[in-house]
């Protein structure tokens, strides 16, 4: 199977390499073309422009850094739109908002092309290991055609229906994650202020019904006050705000998410927005028991 691949950042490079290793013929493009060399060494061809890649390949995948890059690759001169059309498919795996996704979708469909949005859950390591979770939506025929590629890139792909649903599903998952991070933070703080060892709490949690990889990964670094930003707090808070807005549109009352969101906002007001989202734990520390009853 032949695919184009636009965008060779940390994620894109790992994903394109996986496709090559599994026998796909891949034509790559990157804004800084020199970054293509590593993949040429693995057998990739190079396209001079996004348009050139689309002209050559029936299917083109994009993995770009943000909404503006995703729009630029499609709408700018020498962009995807110039060559997309009947019989060609475009799959954007970047993480973008629903509005960006819709704009791209409409432009491509107007040209007669097919479009799938397919944001992923997972970062560098899962990308390298082909263990991403793929949240796809849009053109079902194109999705079905892409399954062999998705099987290489991820451990599981989901088809979620109409355009926008991929972004929405990510918001719901991140909202639950944000509330769980607050639940853990409160528990650690309660343990610490009640004469229990927070480290022992982590050990107990890890043996029970609510054991999960996030608690296992973040818990120990939180106890050390170390918040190296894997997922910045301000982005987590933005996702909670957007999830609450989605709830607002649909009249869904979510008091626990709302309380969690306010805790993340408090963390932002304390200047913690660029740290990892687990830094919300700092909000709870207070002056340590000086107000005991």
């Amino acid at each position: 199977m032949e695919v184009g691949f636009l965008g060779l950042g940390i994620m894109g490079k790992a994903m394109a390499a996986n496709l090559l290793r599994h026998g796909f013929r891949v034509t790559v493009w990157n804004r800084t073309l020199s970054k293509c060399q590593e993949l040429v060494a693995l057998g990739a061809a190079v396209g001079e422009t996004p348009a050139a890649v689309v002209a050559k390949c029936r299917y083109t995948i994009a993995m770009l850094s943000d909404p503006s890059a995703a729009l630029s690759v499609v709408f700018d001169k020498d962009g995807v739109l110039e060559q997309i059309g009947e019989g060609k498919g475009y799959v954007d795996m970047s993480t973008v908002d629903a509005a960006t996704s819709c704009k791209i979708s409409e432009a491509i469909k107007q040209k007669g092309g097919a479009f799938v949005e397919a944001p992923v859950s997972g970062s560098k390591k899962p990308a390298e290991d082909g263990q991403l979770v793929i949240l796809a939506a849009g053109d079902k025929v194109l999705y079905d055609d892409m399954v062999p590629a998705f099987d290489v890139l991820g451990k599981k792909s989901f088809f979620l229906g109409e355009i926008g649903n991929g972004a929405k599903m990510k918001l719901v998952v991140n909202m639950i994650m944000g509330s769980m991070m607050n639940a853990l933070s409160e528990g650690l703080s309660l343990a610490d202020n009640s004469g229990l060892s927070p480290q022992t709490l982590l050990d107990v949690l890890d043996l029970g019904a609510i054991a999960n990889p996030m608690f296992k990964l973040k818990g120990p670094s939180m106890l050390q006050g170390s918040y190296n930003p894997a997922f910045p707090l301000k982005h987590q808070q933005k996702d909670m705000r957007l999830a609450l807005a989605l709830g607002d549109e649909n009249a869904v009352s979510m008091p626990v998410a709302a309380a969690s969101n306010e805790a993340f906002k408090k963390a932002r007001s304390l200047g913690l927005g660029d740290l990892d989202f687990s830094a919300v734990y700092e909000v709870l520390k207070g002056a340590g028991g000086s107000g005991k009853a």
Copy 2:
């Protein structure tokens, strides 16, 4: 090693059987003595009264249904107190509040005996499989003596310091669990009202960083509206209330737990207190989007 064992309910019977299977000599007692027969078949001796068991064994374990049973076995006629003393240890593995535990502890220490409270995390299946998590506190020397038994009964035991800490640790864990259940419920409700499949949300969650046994177990039954009470909602809410009270004593502000507690109270006001605690999901269902913006 020889141990006494008081209380042969669902949990106690499984635990005593495990000890016998691992070569312990066990003398059992139960309020309804006929229940001892099953264990006699496995090699157990029978004591006529709690006092008789303690008289015979250096170490006695109790696993009773509630605080009043735990108190009765110690303080009533023919109870533990009549024979406990220097050189003997008593280990109460029942789930009781800190006050009950303290009362038992003081009485036994006054007689010269040693006491450990050791509530467990896990129910019938883990008890049968020797996979309980044991949250012990009290006399460290007695705890160390009991490690061989704890190794048979649980996959892990923790020594948490002074009497009361076992109960407190359970409250902290249950508080986190209650907030997580609310986070899941809100996420399922948001998905459902936003045109996403709640079942797919469960599938996505199960592949990611916040996957955990509780979501996997409870999620599908929640979607079916089935709330068979493994852990009744009113007990979960009581534990959240007690955890918040512990926070109040120590001036720990926990807004997410507080919001979760109010949701459980709302569920109680709707008559759901005797169902499983996952029935808090029902609180979020509302009139289904009739108030869309």
Copy 3:
């Protein structure tokens, strides 16, 4: 002093009549011109179009029903923009969002005119009695010129600085009001479920430090389950959402407003959005004590 007046709805008619009664010369315009007759009887002149009014008067006041009407009167054919310019002032007293206000402000300033936004607090009765509270912002010189008119229309006017601040101040006030309505509702519900008379609670509140006109007005109708919409719940919830969004921009954590907002959203999900905002009380009623401890 001569002023133009655009918009003779319930509010506008009362305000223009007040100006006439206090000796102002007023030229009125209304989309349905026949509505001008009542004011002609009080001495008003009539302008055929907004542009005609602005051409004639140095100062023109508008009181329109919503943002789209406010924009239309300025930007449409025969609108304010056609005649506004150096030496003329335009004062929009409609309740509009900050973005609408900014758009109007920029267009008028580009033509050389002066602009003041001046939303009001208070409805029909205060408008008739000249007892509005006026939240003005924008051009300070124009504001100072308008003080004689504001003194007739309101009991007090405030100059709040740059355009947008009038709308923001209304949001802050409405946010506090929404939280207070929730506080009252929870108190009435607690009284009712604890064997106290909610009516007596209202009587006690009215004698103390937190007595306020809203509790006095809304309390009795809430106890009767009567929610005639003076201020629809969906609008109150929208204002709380916007106030929380303003807090989000500025990293202000507001957990009580967030909890109140979720209660209003719950009310919307129960189909109460078109009733008075005091209908949030219904959310708290539950199944009345069936879950007593």
Copy 4:
């Protein structure tokens, strides 16, 4: 009418003086008897002990500092119980919890006496001016007998039914007050961080439907960061905790009060418990906008 009066602290002295000025014959007692002199100058007689006062007077009023003083005056040697009986009434106007009140009530009724609890709303100034609000409960016949005295001491008295209801009504009122204080604090903080003047917000609030004496009194001192403790924050938080506990008993979900309670707890954790309850405003100040979006 002749009454006994036990307890001449700030409140009690003002109240007894009011009774004397309105023609009541009053026999006073105070633990430190020298404090009685001021009232003797106004015409009071002195009793040597609580028992002596009760022996002399058909009706005895008490106004004591806390539950332990209230219990001591009744149950200690030479206490009220020694002389109370058929045909005599005892009215405790101290602020005590429901349990204390019930204990006193039962003891007095067992002796054949009548009992009314009558905690008050209002502090020194209203006590001096006879403007207290009296929340009475217990024996209705005794209440009716006391109306002439209550009319002198307060601007209004309420009979609330069974013993305990006076204390409960105070909790409900204080809970609403605590949520309102959080609403005000959040509003001031939002104004301050959004480029609006908090002082102007206070002025606007004071002209509208939610104007109330508490906002008027506390608002300006909050803006100055001055928290002279009229009502200590730790007592406000205790009352919110007790009100939430009352809700818990009766399955009343109160998310806004719960969020407010957590804010007061946060204030305690920052060491603000002994300041005025308006110091909860400090919790919201954060690092002032450093986390702007």
